[in-house]
């Protein structure tokens, strides 16, 4: 275990006094590497909390620049950042909170050509993307690379999340099989999202990542937590790994393929 400086002992004191984390848990957090895909509604709170927690190395993947309409919910970005790449804007806030951490920025969108290499350098992955092609691709890459990850989805007043430990717990495709037909499911840009919902779900994802790193409690394996903030009803639906799963089941997948490409192939 590392020698903590006085500054670190004070900075992380509320973790260190916490039963189930302690100095060993904080040491694990500081040794960990977490990749956040998407520096938007979900990625913002995840990045802020993981930086504050002292996660040693955090990767931020986002090919976009900050837009005025992002600021209603993407709380890591400020008005002055409009036009700045999101990964750079996020990095500046994370380093301001915690100069001890290392933040790697990737100004790109994930696809089948780059995702396996991206996830390979990290211990845990956060899905903070806003479309089904990316969500299924992240699931597939994490299953292939055997990387644990947190799935998150939000819409209007609701959210859902599950944590996946490939080959041990059910994957996203065990539950949802494949992306819905294009435009069948509304998106945040077409149907809206209450800004604070991104915070509700993103902080759950950050918590799951830290639980996994520290080894505390029970991650959301084999269960989908969903909530409706209008009634504040939270539900956990339990399931098992599907032995016939297209992605992680018997045959499973052998290589990563973009989902649009898969759709095109099936048309031929």
């Amino acid at each position: 275990m590392r020698d903590f400086s006085d500054e670190e002992l004070e900075r992380y004191s509320r973790h260190i006094i916490l039963e189930d984390v302690g100095i060993e848990g904080q040491d694990k957090i500081m040794d960990s590497k977490i990749l956040i895909i998407g520096a938007g509604g979900l990625g913002s709170p995840v990045a802020l909390y993981l930086a504050a927690a002292g996660v040693g190395e955090i990767g931020i993947v986002d090919g976009d620049v900050v837009d005025l309409s992002n600021l209603q919910r993407q709380v890591i970005h400020a008005t002055k950042d409009i036009g700045v790449p999101k990964c750079e804007s996020a990095r500046a806030k994370m380093i301001a909170i915690n100069p001890h951490i290392k933040v790697n920025t990737y100004k790109k969108f994930v696809d089948a050509s780059n995702l396996l290499e991206l996830v390979s350098g990290y211990d845990f992955i956060i899905d903070g993307t806003d479309n089904f092609s990316a969500k299924f691709l992240i699931n597939d890459a994490c299953v292939l690379a055997n990387k644990p990850y947190s799935h998150g989805g939000i819409l209007r007043f609701g959210g859902q999340t599950m944590t996946i430990k490939p080959n041990e717990s059910a994957c996203y495709a065990c539950v949802f099989d494949r992306p819905p037909p294009k435009d069948a499911v509304p998106t945040c840009s077409s149907a809206g999202i209450l800004g604070a919902i991104a915070g509700m779900l993103g902080t759950i994802q950050a918590t799951e990542a830290l639980k996994y790193i520290v080894g505390a409690g029970q991650p959301l394996y084999n269960s989908l937590l969903s909530f409706d903030a209008k009634t504040m009803n939270f539900r956990k639906i339990n399931f098992k790994k599907n032995p016939k799963c297209r992605v992680c089941g018997g045959e499973g997948i052998k290589e990563l393929k973009d989902y649009e490409a898969v759709v095109c192939e099936s048309k031929i």
Binding site: T129, N131, D177, P181
Partner: protein
């Protein structure tokens, strides 16, 4: 007969298939929901042939694709 849908107790008159239940529940596009009966996911191709029985615990899991 009595069943549970998304945790709520419901009464339906007779045995029906999942396809009929989706209509009853006003789910317009079955492709946008994943159906679980007593902890098992039902393949979309089997909706027509799968009958809902008394006491079944059914969950509709809806896609949520937002994040940014």
């Amino acid at each position: 007969m009595n069943i549970k849908i998304n945790g709520e107790n419901r009464e339906i008159e007779k045995e029906i298939t999942i396809t009929e239940l989706l209509v009853l529940e006003k789910v317009k596009m079955p492709e946008t929901v994943s159906v679980q009966v007593n902890d098992e996911f039902i393949d979309q191709d089997s909706y027509e042939n799968t009958k809902i029985k008394d006491g079944d615990d059914i969950n509709f899991l809806y896609f949520m694709g937002g994040g940014a």
